[in-house]
Symmetry: C2
Subunit: 139 residues, 2 copies
DNA sequence: GAGTAATAGTTGCATAGCTAATAAAAGGAG
DNA sequence: CTCCTTTTATTAGCTATGCAACTATTACTC
């Protein structure tokens, strides 16, 4: 019925992919968004919530909530910056750093599996089209 | 950071597109998912919640909630089927039918605008790639 | 330097989505 | 017929997301 609708197809695919990732991150006690947030923190420790929100293309309050969840699990901590008291640096805990390697391996495994199912070329082409579409709608 | 991740790009695009549709449906007092659900009901009155859930590729409980919202707004009503007491037929109210034309026009307008921004070919190609990816992950 | 504007983060409130559990009806086996 | 299974729909509980409003801090203006 909505076969030709970009929104419908995109949203349905996003839900489907979330299930893949959720399964991969479950052993770490993380949901999909939490897993991505933690990977972003691990990739560049000390960044601000607003920067992380930009990275993940989510609203700032959503980033706050994801960070709350990670803090609750003892995976990140917040440190108010002395230079500017409005800003808080987000750093991974030792426990998160330890988890990092496994998390990246699990992530790579999901990508591998998807590429296998979709074909290397099909996967790349789809990512490209979706990213281009996002860029075009940037405004 | 997640430029090559299919999930990240797809989920971000879905959120971006939701904003377009939300704007278009706002004058009708509907959210994006509610608008799509109502269009599905209007397209084929008398169907079951489970069939609508399949159409929209959402879980049955999610369909129940969307229908609750539409019923609350006086746009659909549920009728238990006499043939099988487990099933309920979903029908649009007169008010919903009246809204139907405007809703479809607003929907067409969104598609038109997106095609204009993305280019007719780019739009079609993206829809195709996303739909094919969904099919490939059907299993 | 006092008052105003801007900025970072958070909180409040609402919606959508899922899984698991429940209720009710129908179907099937004996 | 009675018990068990299957099916439809719903409810319960949780997470993610966004907008709007609020707080605290910094920056700017005069």
């Amino acid at each position: 019925m909505f076969d030709h609708c970009l929104y419908f197809n995109t949203a349905a695919l996003a839900r489907r992919l979330d299930r893949e990732w959720a399964l991969a991150y479950k052993p770490f006690g993380l949901t999909t968004p939490q897993g991505f947030m933690l990977r972003a923190v691990l990739a560049r420790p000390g960044r601000l919530p607003s920067e992380l929100a930009d990275d993940l293309e989510i609203a700032r309050p959503t980033a706050t909530r994801a960070l709350d969840a990670l803090q609750e699990k003892g995976l990140i901590h917040r440190q108010v910056r002395s230079a500017d008291g409005r800003q808080t640096a987000i750093a991974p805990t030792a426990s998160a750093i330890e988890m990092g390697r496994g998390l990246n391996e699990a992530s790579a495994e999901v990508s591998r599996r998807l590429k296998h199912v979709l074909g290397e070329a099909g996967f790349a082409e789809t990512v490209l089209r979706v990213r281009d579409t996002r860029s075009a709608l940037r405004a």
